[in-house]
Amino acid sequence: MTARRSTVRHRAAPAGALRRLWAVTAVLAGAALAGALATGGTYALLSSSVPAPAGTVRSGSAALAVESSPVVRLQGLVPGGTTTNATTMRNVGDVPLSVTVAAADVTAAFDDGPGSTGQGASLDELRLRVTPVAATADCRPGLAGTTQYIRAWATPTTVGAPLAKGVARTFCLEFLLDEDAPSFVQGGVDGLTFRVTGTQVRS
């Protein structure tokens, strides 16, 4: 009777271990699958290799080059009038870039010195329209780009589709002075830095 019970236990033990082994295997497989999904890759173990020639491993880069004059002075804007300037940026990095533009370092000055009555007032009358164009010659008044007062351009605004590696984009900057710009802002000088920022596009 004892031997019989012993035999029963001996036969039952391999079945429990097998169940635990299956459970462990399932958990490991699930964990591996979860990890693989999380990284977006696979763990295919098949591989092949050839010897690589000697060389330099270099990381990629994101870079924009301005292909227009770095400083521009636009003259003679009057109420209801416009003046335009085309500036071209090229993606000289290794990755495509989504592009935003913004106006930084906005200043206002007057020929008759600081502290004059109209100091800064002209910024409330000056709007900027930014439109991507195919070429500098296409930059003209009345295009359909985003238009807002200079100060509002402090917030970066996406302009156009992502810029592929090696491709240039010309931005048409149209400055518009309100028709009701008061007389005391005459001769004002408004300055800004037109900043183009490219951010790597997720591939």
Partner: protein, 306 residues
């Protein structure tokens, strides 16, 4: 309590849990590390200089003109300069002071006024067809456009009519407005221009006597007129003073070389020189008129004779 509950998780399960945790930790941490996105920027500095209006206004010389007779025109000019940075439209309006006497207002209504831009015709005694016309009581309003920095000379021809009273004076005020778009404009004025009528018509002007002692100089001698006012006298050709020449009543002479007198438009034609009394820089009515004649000697040198 069962034996299993008392013993806790088996060592095998603990080991499996640790392995699972490690796998998840290692592979999961890779999910967050790969997405540091690169950025780049570049910029252009832009300065937007707003336009500016400005206007210069000069002329209306001599500042005091006495009409010599009814129907006899006098011509002067004013110069408008766009001193702003943008193309603008200028407009000249005229008026007489609100404090003008009745006699002055009568003269203002009796002076025919014509104005035109010199580009269309010289400032001669005959007005071109395009001249705008009126009187000092209802003045004409010439207008035109100028690029930044450009000038326009506006001729002003005035003729006293038969109704012009004697012994009267009118002070036309010239006002110019240089306007761009919107409310942007600049203004300027000429307030010291006078026109007078004599105490009786017509006015006779004394002759200045010409004499020449050598081929290159001529002298005009005149009789001072104490009633004309001013302590000094100056020569004028048309409405332009001849250099800075002046003299007093004690020495009523002017000596001229050819170079003293304007070349154009007189060329080698006789040149009429008017002598006016001066009050400061303001000339009075003509007290004498003389004539000199440009010459050239045998070697072609420019001279002047009577």
């Amino acid at each position: 309590m069962s034996r299993a509950a008392r013993r806790g998780p088996s060592p095998l399960l603990v080991r499996v849990a640790v392995v699972v945790a490690l796998v998840v930790a290692v592979t999961g941490s890779g999910a967050g590390a790969g997405w540091a996105l690169w950025t780049a920027s570049n910029s252009q500095k832009v300065e937007v200089v707003l336009g500016k209006t400005g206007v210069g206004f000069s002329g209306a010389e001599p500042k005091s003109v006495t009409f010599t007779d009814r129907g006899v025109p006098t011509v002067t000019s004013v110069r408008v300069t766009n001193t702003g940075t943008v193309p603008s439209t200028w407009t000249i309006t005229s008026s007489i002071p609100s404090t003008s006497s009745d006699l002055s207002r009568s003269l203002a209504a009796a002076v025919d006024v014509q104005m035109w831009t010199k580009g269309a015709a010289e400032c001669g005694t005959t007005a071109p067809a395009g001249a705008v016309a009126g009187t000092w009581a209802a003045p004409p309003t010439p207008t035109g456009s100028l690029a930044a920095g450009a000038v326009a000379d506006v001729c002003v021809r005035t003729v006293p009519t038969a109704a012009a009273p004697t012994g009267a004076r009118v002070n036309p005020l010239f006002h110019v407005r240089m306007a761009s778009t919107g409310d942007w404009a600049a203004t300027n004025e000429i307030r010291d221009f006078y026109q007078l009528t004599p105490t009786s018509w017509p006015v006779t002007v004394a002759q200045a006597t010409c004499s020449a002692n050598d081929p290159y100089e001529a002298q005009l001698t005149f009789t001072p007129d104490p009633a004309a006012g001013g302590g000094t006298y100056a020569p004028f050709v048309g409405d332009r003073r001849v250099g800075a020449k002046s003299t007093s009543a004690d020495y009523p002479h002017f000596m001229f070389t050819r170079d003293d007198l304007p070349e154009d438009p007189y060329g080698n034609d006789p040149i009429r020189v008017d002598i006016r009394p001066m009050t400061g820089e303001a000339p009075g009515p003509v007290v004498a008129t003389g004539t000199v004649r440009p010459t050239r000697d045998a070697e072609g040198l420019r001279g002047i004779q009577c």
